[in-house]
Subunit: 424 residues, 2 copies
Amino acid sequence: MVYKDLSKEELLEMKKELQAEYEAFKAKGLKLDMSRGKPNKAQLDLTNDMLDTVNSSSDMTASDGMETRNYGGLTGIPECRKLMAEIVDVDEKNVIIGGVASLTLMYDYISQCMVFGCGGNEPWIKQGEIKFLCPCPGYDRHFGILEHFGIKMINIKMNADGPDMDSIEEYIKDESVKGLFCVPKYSNPDGITFSDEVVRRFAALKPAAKDFRVIWDNAYIVHDLNDTPDRLLNIFDEAKKCGSEDMFIEVISTSKISFAGGGISAIIASDANIAEIKKRMGIQIISNDKINQLRHARYFKNLDGIKAHMKKQAAILRPKFDTVTDGFEKAFNGTGIASWKKPNGGYFISLFVMKGCAKRVGQLCKEAGLTLTTVGATYPYGIDPDDSNIRIAPSYPNVDELQKAVELLCICVKLAAVEKLTEE
Amino acid sequence: MVYKDLSKEELLEMKKELQAEYEAFKAKGLKLDMSRGKPNKAQLDLTNDMLDTVNSSSDMTASDGMETRNYGGLTGIPECRKLMAEIVDVDEKNVIIGGVASLTLMYDYISQCMVFGCGGNEPWIKQGEIKFLCPCPGYDRHFGILEHFGIKMINIKMNADGPDMDSIEEYIKDESVKGLFCVPKYSNPDGITFSDEVVRRFAALKPAAKDFRVIWDNAYIVHDLNDTPDRLLNIFDEAKKCGSEDMFIEVISTSKISFAGGGISAIIASDANIAEIKKRMGIQIISNDKINQLRHARYFKNLDGIKAHMKKQAAILRPKFDTVTDGFEKAFNGTGIASWKKPNGGYFISLFVMKGCAKRVGQLCKEAGLTLTTVGATYPYGIDPDDSNIRIAPSYPNVDELQKAVELLCICVKLAAVEKLTEE
């Protein structure tokens, strides 16, 4: 039954039933958290053996003879650069190994652009108001960086094949528009992978600003969930064809491959951008943790090692994603009050509830003991103009907990919808 | 014989002999490096067992129940904050654990002050030309950060008990003077520890700039070489008496305790400064490497563990420092052409040669196969106004190599002096 076609009486009847179901759930005193894309214990355990890869009897020398325990090696040890280069399919010389978080690589790059500019242009901080385009729903920490630096954010619609390129092509005619962040594969939170056409249109962008930068946050590049994974074009291959390599800054990390609390990250960029990044990094650090680089390189060895490992990760995650999407299908099919996409990878499911209901859903869930990602957080400034999007992070709870959480969530989505439809 | 009292004939005779000695050394084709304060292999081996502290069968839970392998814990795990707090003797709440390098903590803090200001004041970048006071000779990487951000550097003389406080007290009357970097214990390169009076005068500073910051780089806080170590007052204890805690940002690291290529660092600050740093860090990172924090906390346990470990480090380093200072005494006593201080700790020996001769010494050494820290690097902009200071880093070479290096260096110092004295 499509909710909006029901009569007021039918809706009020339904509301009574939903309220009873909700109160019953509330009485159970649950305490569930689906707020962040956090790996769960079983996933972390998968990489425990890596901790044995480097021990007191290990040869601590990198492949180029560098002593990993000592100073030196600003850009990372060769075997680790090679591993990360294989993952993104670029030349090793275009890879710099970072610390534990790609977030830091992105923050530091934006900070560098603010204070020193990029591509030899004027520092952003000296150019008056500057703007970034924000495909949304998107990753709250990207928006966090932009807000922190006072960069004005402009919402860009996400289509089924990536950001709305028509509007991006229009906005970049404005020289004060300096860039955008995106997650091109299994986007956070929609799980959308940019189509070939979208990637090619990105590569072909001709922004008015010479210092326009696309932060290509390839967080889920090897994070497939099933045997029909999405395929993303290599942005640097496409950029080369357009001579636009300097426009792209790619980052990846092993946060959701090895350990979120002890992984490594990498920044991938054109020769010119690598030179600018190295110039700053050479003042900021002598090298990132080379022992952890050695650990990762020796444990995973190569792309095949990474892929084999990610199959184990997928085996743990897949049933959780299924639990959520199965629950949604069961609850929402034919109701017309919610939509979502079942992703082939990544860490999130993006649920769109009836317009104007998302905050109410978040509140209802919270009062019944289920913490969701703060509603609105998937949009710039925390404002979802439709008050509709809810980000579901299924990785952390176990399947049983998840089942309960989804059941509760579905009740709340329905209740909020019925409340809305019966509003005076 | 005091060189400057010798006759021209005597000097020319000596020059001939020194040239012969120098050429003999050159013929040996040495390749020695004393340029950086790098631990040597035996020192690194001391900490190898730490790599076994955390392995695949370890409990990976921090003392507060946090899973170190996962996200979370912006300020560091409690046992690691406690360890670092014990080293500097402050409350744990005033300690944030960083990544592999205290250099990054300092860079990021200066960057934060530039873009966001500190203490709620206007960003430095918006205040026109700003200046830092630079006790020198000093640490080239401090000067590097300042030059990178375009902060004007003003030389401050180092006295035997620390920076010349008279001139600092005078300069800070200028509101555009925003701070200084210093190494208060076993200063780089002089090995000077600030006297109680100097520390107290620091704490009592009343700068015109409300956003004046002293970066207290306590890099060698536990790096004593012998049983008569220097003693440094706790800057925060003294600052409390003057209500000036907000003026000080202290940093330490385990780079020269555990591994330069895989250690941890910490930033220590007042409640107000910690709040500002956390606000920025919360955008920049989710947490630093908590597994490495666990490794360090479990291995060293507490300050006693650190102290016991540093005695082993000292046993390796002491003979090297002795080799250098013994060599200097033998070569220079009574010549009046060089001065130095035998430090009780730290990583460097600072040699002052005859004015106008340091660059020539560097050149002579280089041509004979001995690399020194670039002459001038111990001063802002790489300019030693007296062309006199040479930083000796004795840690990396072994004692035999060091003996040769010092012998060669002494010949070069003498030769440069004689050249100078016989100049037309």
